[in-house]
């Protein structure tokens, strides 16, 4: 493998990780959606570059799906939801941005520590470490945000990490990628419907309202 190919793949995966950290730091919902769209585009580039490196044209399909569905359709739809629901507010976080960033950095360190000594080629290894970090950051985002829309984005970002991990290793069949893409789309549809239903019933998309409705929310949370 030539070094320039390796470096570009590395750059793109690293870019995804930086964007994940940026997602954690955003304070406004529109900005979160934009950063997510940017991450999906970087993912598409990364997958396309992998397709070129591995001589696997079917990865191009994955890249196209990522670009069109996650980079364009979903962010557009989310922005529409936000506008229609009129929630251009600040993201309500459970933990302040500073500690969240620190936790995120610790997670990145953990994933590198975990995968650095493992077997396999350098590229696969680094790629997997980045992907694991993106997955963990997505999870972290899901549990540190109160707003349903930002939770959806955390979940989508997690899926981005999964796709990055899957395409980084050689020989993943197209069927898997397509099914992953569809599952994301369906999850998005389900989430979207849920968000509207929540809004209709509770006049807010703060998931704390659901907890309150279940009668299980404690006031100190």
């Amino acid at each position: 493998m030539d070094t320039i190919g390796f470096d570009i793949a590395h750059l793109l995966s690293g870019g995804m990780l930086v964007l994940s950290l940026l997602l954690l730091f955003q304070t406004r919902i529109i900005a979160v959606i934009n950063v997510f769209a940017l991450q999906a585009i970087v993912l598409a580039l990364s997958v396309a570059w992998q397709a070129y490196l591995q001589q696997a044209p079917h990865l191009m399909v994955t890249a196209a799906i990522a670009l069109i569905v996650k980079g364009l359709i979903i962010p557009f739809a989310l922005q529409r939801i936000v506008r229609r629901l009129d929630i251009h507010r600040e993201v309500e976080t459970v933990i302040a941005a500073g500690p969240t960033m620190l936790a995120g950095l610790a997670l990145v360190a953990l994933s590198i520590l975990l995968l650095q000594p493992s077997e396999g080629s350098v590229l696969t290894r680094e790629d997997l470490a980045f992907a694991l970090a993106v997955i963990l950051l997505g999870l972290l985002m899901m549990i540190t945000r109160r707003n349903a829309v930002t939770q959806i984005i955390g979940f989508m970002s997690l899926e981005n990490g999964l796709i990055l991990a899957a395409t980084g290793s050689r020989g993943m069949p197209l069927v898997v990628e397509i099914s992953v893409a569809f599952s994301i789309l369906i999850a998005f549809v389900v989430f979207g419907i849920f968000v509207f239903r929540i809004r209709e019933r509770f006049d807010t998309v703060d998931v704390a309202a659901i907890d309150r409705f279940r009668g299980e929310r404690r006031e100190h949370l």
Partner: protein, 669 residues
């Protein structure tokens, strides 16, 4: 005996259990069920006796039942035949007793279906030759006996006893399950033949042995796993109590012998030390608990704990000797243990039958309300007295022979090379001696307070002798106690195939000695002849009586009994069971039993009555089971909170678990 015949009898017992569901309500149903159980048990007993005495080779059979493609394995060898004798002797005689006793059962349908099923399950445990069948029948045995423990379910204490029994039985089965898992290894060989052939590393053998000691020991009743036993055994009807205490605990001992002696293979000497030490502690604590009791059936149940301790001392010694290659001593210790298994099943059944008869005649189990029964129930009193003498190890009865043999095995222990064993086993012998002496005290109390003196209640005053079935059952056992005591050589000869199979040796001098003697090691060191002692006792007693009658007056004089200077007419003023136990309670009470004595003495001149209250606690409850129950409860309350978290908290839990696991993986490398 082909194993198929045994299985056919087990199937017959299960069938009787099913039939009992249909006919249990009718009055004849009781007679039919117990009569049929008696017949089937007697058939198996005969088969097993011939198998053991003729020293037949092991016979096995595989039935296409149970797990697909594996089948169910059954086998009868010398050990199984011996325990089949124990199970079916107890079963047959309990059935005779139940022909009389069961007729008075208030709700026979709560006992009748379970009784034959219980006998069948115990037979099946002994016949099983793979882990699956063994565990299945073991658990079935626990379950049907639980059904009979809670037969009188209107009494709250019985339901509680049943609950504790169920918990302990499940725990024991779980331990056995894990033990067989270790024995089967990663290959998953569940037949005993494969386990016998397999070789375990010493560490695995130790784990399997410990798990078996806990699992089978909780069924047998070793301290501190005995807590269910004094609650559950008295709760059942009389004949079932006798089976639970006299026979089912022996099935527990069988499980231990089968796994540790037969399946695990070569033991380490210190494993024997652990077993013997636990046996010694069990024996001493069991009899001390028994002395504190004033409920007759509970006293007997605690006394079972003591006898199980004696059996485990013998088994531990056998393990230690076998590990050092001293086969003849191992055979001596094992023969002592097995002989005691037989003896205990006989006299404990006898004593429980006696207690059942007393309960039936008076409605009382509390000794403080009994007394003077020897006048109204002379036959029961005589049978109970023989049982008391046998269990107190008085010659020439059977209990003496097995305890004496155990002592002989302890006296050989200086031949062991390990210093730890040399030092600890004499201490175990001291515990055994202590428990033998205390057992005698315990049964002087049990017999004296129950049958001698004057009646302490109207119920005891109005007691009447029980019917002929119960008396026949008790006198068959009395005969067995005497015969096994006088002719112990025959029993030991019959045990030779078992010891040869398990420890590879027999008692060297014993084979078919003339004059019915027992010689454990060599004749110059020690020997015992029950017949000689019987003749001496009969002769000297006759002579003494003759001399007294010759030189003293023959006239019968009636005079008031000596009343210690207090001519108080009330029977309450008699020596009671708690006053009998008082000296021992004072010695051991504060430390071992946490005895609380409360004396409320009115000041001089006050007219109210004084009160004296004694409360005795089983230390196993507050030292072991109390903390366990409290920690389970607090863990449960804590986990209960997790059920009502928010979605985000659940996600956090998942995330936290993932990160912790990843950290573990990272730290592992």
């Amino acid at each position: 005996m082909p194993a198929v015949a045994g299985l056919a009898c087990v199937a017959a017992l299960f069938a009787i259990g099913l039939v009992a569901v249909a006919i249990g309500r009718s009055r004849a149903g009781t007679t039919v069920v117990y009569g049929a159980s008696l017949l089937v048990s007697a058939i198996v007993l005969l088969f097993a006796l011939t198998h053991l005495i003729l020293a037949s080779p092991p016979a096995s059979v595989t039935l296409p039942l149970g797990l697909p493609w594996i089948g169910a394995h059954f086998r009868i060898d010398a050990l199984a035949a011996f325990f089949l004798i124990i199970v079916n002797l107890g079963g047959a005689i309990a059935s005779i007793y139940a022909l009389g006793y069961g007729a008075h059962e208030a709700s026979p349908l709560r006992v009748l279906p379970f009784y034959p099923a219980f006998l069948g399950a115990m037979n099946l445990v002994v016949l099983a030759d793979d882990a699956f069948v063994f565990l299945l029948s073991w658990e079935f045995m626990s379950l049907v006996s639980w059904g009979m423990v809670v037969a009188h379910h209107r009494v709250a204490a019985n339901v509680r006893a049943g609950y504790i029994y169920l918990v302990m039985a499940s725990f024991g089965t779980l331990c056995l399950f894990l033990a067989f898992g270790v024995l089967a290894g990663t290959g998953g060989q569940y037949s005993f033949a494969a386990m016998r052939a397999g070789q375990l590393t010493p560490a695995l053998a130790l784990i399997a042995g410990t798990l078996t000691l806990i699992g089978a020991g909780s069924k047998a009743g070793i301290v501190p796993l005995h807590v269910w036993l004094p609650l559950a055994h008295p709760a059942a009807p009389g004949h079932v109590s006798a089976l639970l205490s006299g026979v089912m605990t022996k099935v527990g001992v069988y499980g231990f012998i089968r796994v540790v002696f037969d399946l695990i293979g070569e033991p380490t000497p210190y494993a024997g030390l652990i077993v013997a030490a636990i046996g010694g502690i069990t024996a001493a604590l069991g009899v001390l608990y028994a002395l504190m009791q004033h409920d007759l059936k509970r006293l007997l149940a605690y006394h079972t704990v003591e006898n199980i301790g004696i059996i485990f001392i013998g088994l531990g010694l056998a393990l230690a000797f076998r590990a050092n290659g001293i086969e003849w001593a191992a055979a001596l210790a094992l023969a002592a243990a097995l002989f005691h298994v037989f003896n205990h099943s006989v006299f404990k059944s006898l004593l429980f039958f006696g207690a059942g008869s007393v309960l039936m005649a008076t409605g009382e189990r509390d000794m403080e309300h009994l007394g003077g029964l020897i006048h109204r129930m002379p036959h029961t009193a005589f049978a109970f007295l023989i049982g008391c003498m046998a269990i107190s190890a008085l010659p020439p009865l059977n209990g003496f022979v097995s305890e004496w043999l155990t002592f002989q095995a302890i006296l050989v222990s200086p031949q062991l090379p390990q210093w730890g064993l040399k030092l600890v086993i004499p201490a175990v012998g001291a515990l055994l001696a202590l428990s033998a002496a205390l057992a005698a005290a315990c049964f002087v109390k049990a017999f004296g307070v129950t049958f001698l003196g004057r009646a302490r209640s109207n119920a005891a005053q109005a007691a009447h002798e029980v019917d002929q079935f119960q008396r026949v059952a008790m006198f068959v056992l009395v005969t067995l106690c005497i015969l096994a005591g006088i002719f112990p050589g025959f029993v030991i000869d019959a045990l030779a195939p078992v010891t040869r199979a398990l420890v590879g040796g027999t008692m060297p001098q014993q084979a078919f000695l003339p004059w019915l003697s027992v010689v454990p090691i060599v004749a110059s060191r020690s020997s015992y002849n029950g017949l000689l002692i019987l003749l001496f006792l009969v002769g000297s007693a006759t002579l003494t009586a003759a001399i007294i009658h010759r030189f003293a007056t023959r006239a019968t004089r009636r005079s008031p009994i000596w009343d210690c200077g207090f001519p108080l007419a009330s029977p309450v003023a008699q020596y009671t069971s708690s006053s009998f136990a008082m000296p021992i309670r004072r010695v051991f009470g504060a430390s071992v039993f946490r005895v609380r004595e409360q004396l409320d003495m009115p000041p001089p001149g006050a007219m109210r009555a004084g009160h004296f209250q004694v409360r005795v606690f089983d230390p196993a409850w507050f030292a072991i089971y109390g903390p366990i129950a409290r920690s389970v409860r607090s863990t449960g309350i804590f986990l209960n909170r997790i059920q009502f978290l928010t979605i985000r908290s659940y996600l956090t839990l998942v995330f936290g678990a993932l990160v912790v696991l990843l950290l573990v993986v990272a730290a592992w490398r």
